[in-house]
Amino acid sequence: MTIMERITNPRFLRSALPLASFAVLLSLIFYVQPRAMSYFGLNLMLQYAVPIALATIAQMFILTVNDLDLSIGAFVGLTASIGATLLADNPVVGVCALAACVAAYGAIGALIHWRNLPSIVVTLGMSFVWLGIAVIILPTPGGTSPAWIKAIMGLKVPYIPFPIIAAAVIAIVVQVLLMHTSYGATLRGAGGNPRAIERAGWSLLKIKIVMYSAAGFFGVLSGLSLIGLTSAADAHIADRYTLYSIAGVILGGGEFVGGRVSPVGAVIGALTLTLTGSFLIFLKISPDWQIGAQGAILIVVLALRALIKRREG
């Protein structure tokens, strides 16, 4: 295979698409605003990439088993609220509350599998429950994030901005666990061919519980990292994360069904989404269009993917 053939190979194009979109967006930003090309500039632009990447990974776990989570944004809001109140006041109570949140997520996975329910309806309902609990815990924006979370999120690393290191660590850890372990392959198989996995003796119920709990765990991490940046919380702090997380997975090359996901891609997708905000600001485009631009990027990437797919045959 010549180099040209290798580059135009649909499979290569497909897997290169997330990184390419990120690189294109980043170079456009550097072109428009050269001052962004610095330690400080990158740090500022990618600050919120960590919580968004964590929420995206959470969504990816759910998409792996062919479900969709419309409640992750509200859930991140809830865990942020718990982090800024219960966890800050009394670490033991706070940790227990967060553990209960993860367990609740696992239970929802079990319920969805047990009754064969559509995940969209269940999670949409649950988003109201999470929001309701968050509003009760934290009726008005406020609270304070624990000092140790602030310390972690404010870490100054020489040469490479912290968000980039954190994103890389998240991507590599999840990539290894989900893509390079035998249990990870089973988990993905439950999305690709649930019947085969079941016949091979695995419990689909257990797999759903594991995946939903993992999503809950990353949702907790997302909420905590978010208050590390904002130092206060609000029940509505992460409402947009539901959309971000879905878009992030898709931008990162994840398929909607069939267990075809990519943790590294998902994190890159999250970074790309985070950058769109800065890009629009540099272009002096009204923030009104921020959410629209994210939709447009999503559509463009999906269009490119459809083109590549057509060539795949």
Binding site: L68, L111, R115, N116, L117, P118, I120, V121, V122, L124, G125, M126, S127, F128, V129, W130, L131, G132, I133, A134, V135, I136, P139, L243, I246, A247, I250, F256, V257, S286, D288, W289, Q290, I291, G292, A293, Q294, G295, A296, L298, I299, L302, A303, A306, K309
Partner: protein
Amino acid sequence: MTALARTLGRQRWIWAYLGMVAVWLATVTFTGGKGGGEIITAALSFAAFTVIVGIGQMFVITTGPGNVDLSIPATISLSGAVAMKLMGGDNAMLLVGIAASLGCGFAVGLFNYMLIRILRIPPIIATLSSSFLILSTAISYGRGLKIKPPSMLADFTTTQVFGFPVLAFFVILFAAIMALILNRTVYGRAVSAVGQNPRAAWLAGVDVERIRFRTYLQSAVLAAVCGFLLAGFSGGASLNMGEEYLLASIAVVVIGGTSVAGGQGNVAGIIGAAIFMFLLVTMLNTFGASAGVRLIMTGLIIVAVITIAGGDKPQR
């Protein structure tokens, strides 16, 4: 009598109406019989809007698993903002406003279907990403929008005859027509057929793609109509006025007895479910529940209803 009970028990939409009556009785018992009539009037007024979008969503969901229109809230906001701005509160511009509103609906429906068909994007992602674009358009177009609706529109949406909202009457009439379309026309039967088994429907000569196109178009247009009327009802368009209709449109379909796996729609249940949803919030308000508790209860009831109804195995 038992035969009647059994026949009714098999109709899943009956639960929505039972829930509606139970919640109303609980509320009226709590208030000692005061305000029972007013509550019904308010419920009919508000439920009318949910029914309009619910019917559009029901047809979409009935075309099979994976089909859901998530762009309804954004379309409501866009249609309301565009219509209000064009009419500028002038009765003479009413027709222009209606046309613009319908135009928004057509454009959104066309765009959604284009994404689904040409780019082969799964409907959920397609309608989600288009809703981003629609919402941004609405936000940037309608910034600082504080325009009162034309008096004729405001009157139409708020007039009552003996405590019965005129709008609710029209919506019930419309629902009856849509029920006929679903159960008695070639289009309606085709929607169910596609939802049950798209391949079998295709082999039987159903133009599956045309059915899908019409269904998504219909949903967007109904969302636009809802936005138009809602802006008239609430004294002007606001950008987040569509927000609550994402959950509401799906919830009334599920509670109303439509199969979420597709292939089996139900119009009558949507009306009961929409009134039930409104009465539920009213009841919690009367009981003095806080905003948080109201949210939790709303969410839990939807999860409970879908759990009891159970997901049907996809018929493939």
